[in-house]
């Protein structure tokens, strides 16, 4: 008897593709945030904004890695990884901020604002490039330019 339901997901991982694309898009934006932090709060602000961008990107990559890894084992594990991963990643962000909060270079306002702005901004930006169709489940393919002779 053939299996009537899927227990694991082999094949390409759209999460990893999206997370890598998020990182690629964040790299040119990060200096802008660092600059805004530097203008508003000085060197501490710049370092805090950079640290926040780093935390957000690690968070995305970790989420994608957890889902990709667990989907290849079983759907049930993927569900568990998504839920435990949420708590785990929140805990990691908490620990990463608590560990440095008393350091001289940390300014809490630019750190917090950069965390939110980077996370939400990158996500909204990424939705423009996501296809989520049967043919292209992850990112939308780049448009093919017409040959110059035609």
């Amino acid at each position: 008897m053939s299996e009537a339901f899927v227990t694991r997901l082999d094949g390409p991982s759209p999460e990893r593709e999206i997370a890598h694309d998020l990182v690629r898009r964040a790299l040119p934006v990060a200096p802008v945030l660092v600059l805004i932090g530097a203008i508003g709060w000085g060197v501490g602000g710049a370092l805090s904004a950079g640290y926040a961008v780093f935390l957000v990107l690690v968070n995305f990559l970790l989420a994608a890695a957890l889902l990709t890894w667990s989907a290849r084992i079983s759907l049930a594990l993927m569900m568990g990884a998504a839920l435990v991963g949420y708590v785990l990643r929140l805990g990691l962000i908490f620990a990463a901020v608590v560990l440095v909060k008393d350091a001289g270079w940390v300014k809490l306002w630019p750190l917090g604002l950069s965390l939110i702005v980077t996370h939400v901004g990158l996500l909204f930006w990424e939705t423009r490039y996501v296809s989520a169709s049967l043919a292209f489940p992850g990112l939308r393919p780049a448009p093919i330019s017409a040959p110059s002779g035609s």
């Binding site: 339901f5 997370a19 608590v98 965390l115």
Partner: protein, 87 residues
């Protein structure tokens, strides 16, 4: 109650800062509950969709990943409020 707490903790300033820390902790905890429920529902429905229609799994995973990230933004906002208020 409050005078008794003030007597235990010392000055009124200590009491206020303790209350602020407790309030910030509660705010962060409450802010994390909502996204937790949301992510649980989202992933549960996604797993069901993937099990029912395996050929659409890639599409569902994409939407699920973005949905998790958007939902997590709410918890991050709660966390930022927590660090700005009471950490």
């Amino acid at each position: 109650m409050l005078p008794m707490l003030a007597e235990i903790t010392g000055t009124g300033d200590d009491l206020i800062s303790a209350g602020g820390a407790i309030g910030a902790g509660f705010a962060y905890g409450l802010a994390a509950i909502g996204p937790g429920i949301g992510i649980g529902y989202l992933v549960g429905q996604s797993v069901q969709a993937m099990a029912r229609q395996p050929e659409a799994a890639g599409m569902v995973r994409t939407t699920m990943f973005l949905g998790i990230a958007f939902t997590e933004a709410l918890a991050l906002i709660g966390f930022v409020v927590f660090i700005l208020l009471g950490l």
